[in-house]
Amino acid sequence: MKKLVVTLCFVLAACAQHGDILPPIDVAQPPVPTDFSVSTADYVTYHLSWDIVDPSSLVTEYRVYSLFPGYDPVLQGTTDTTAVEVNTQVQVLGISFCVSAVTVEHVEGRLACASAE
């Protein structure tokens, strides 16, 4: 009887192999760019500028994305300054831009998005 119970326990353990969840990756929360603004005069050249709450928080670069409603953001490029100019070559209406900060740990923060004023 004891052997039967032990065997049953082994069978149960063998069939239950989903294990535990992984521990969370220990990284610092990257800051989100603030006061993000997009301006344009001709809908071809867009001027993007933003601020960061804590500039000394080990942010190494910013990622700039273009965004059309209903689509995922498309990476336009990276910069280490807090202002950038994007040229779309042709007139583009209804476009938005997003920017995110990347830390030295290579972790990208949340996006801050805005459209042309």
Binding site: C15, A16, H18, G19, I25, V102, V107, E108
Partner: protein
């Protein structure tokens, strides 16, 4: 000469293998009453299909109960196992994705904190789902094993149905009045 030696060896081997059978048979005789040996055919039937041995013994109600319980728990076990595996596979895939984030960071690649947090939330949800489904799976497994075990014990201890000893409907006149008795077979 060689052949005789071989045959002696074979017969010794056979004798040795039969030695353990005697105490085993004695133990069986002690454990189960002698009438249990007469129902070995019913035991084998119940061993293969729960309730079949009881049907052979003439206990049809018990046979239906055991067969029904075995089918219900067996089907429940099968379905709950499928659902559990589905949740476990989903969890495994999310664990794999989450582990790949750490590898990407170690290799110098950039990982979005939103992606990491989203995957972690999904991983937690999948883990909870897998735990819940495991409880159901184990409940059905225990139910199935218990039904099967009780079915075997029942077929061993119960005697074949004897219609001569069946209690039929009886009417008895007593000083208090008429007493009607009906015994039900289970």
């Amino acid at each position: 000469m060689q052949i005789r030696r071989e045959s002696n060896r074979e017969s010794n081997k056979g004798r040795r293998s039969q030695v353990w059978l005697r105490p085993a048979a004695m133990a069986l005789l002690l454990l189960f009453p002698t009438h249990a040996l007469a129902v070995d055919s019913a035991f084998l039937r119940s061993l293969i299909v729960p309730g079949l041995g009881q049907a052979q013994q003439g206990h049809y109600t018990r046979s239906a109960v055991f067969a029904g319980a075995a089918v219900a728990t067996g089907v429940g076990l099968f379905i709950s196992q499928i659902y559990y595996r589905e949740a476990a596979n989903k969890l495994y895939a999310q664990k794999h994705i989450y582990a790949s984030y750490q590898e990407t960071l170690n290799d110098g690649g950039v990982v979005s904190i939103e992606d990491m947090e989203q995957t972690y939330k999904e991983m937690e949800a999948s883990h909870n789902l897998a735990e819940d489904r495991l409880v159901w799976r184990n409940a059905f497994l225990v139910g199935f094993v218990t039904t099967y075990a009780i079915n075997l014990v029942d077929v061993l201890v119960s005697k074949p149905y004897d219609p001569e000893h069946e209690s039929r409907l009886s009417v008895e006149m007593t000083p208090a009045g008429v007493k009607v008795t009906k015994a039900f077979r289970f």
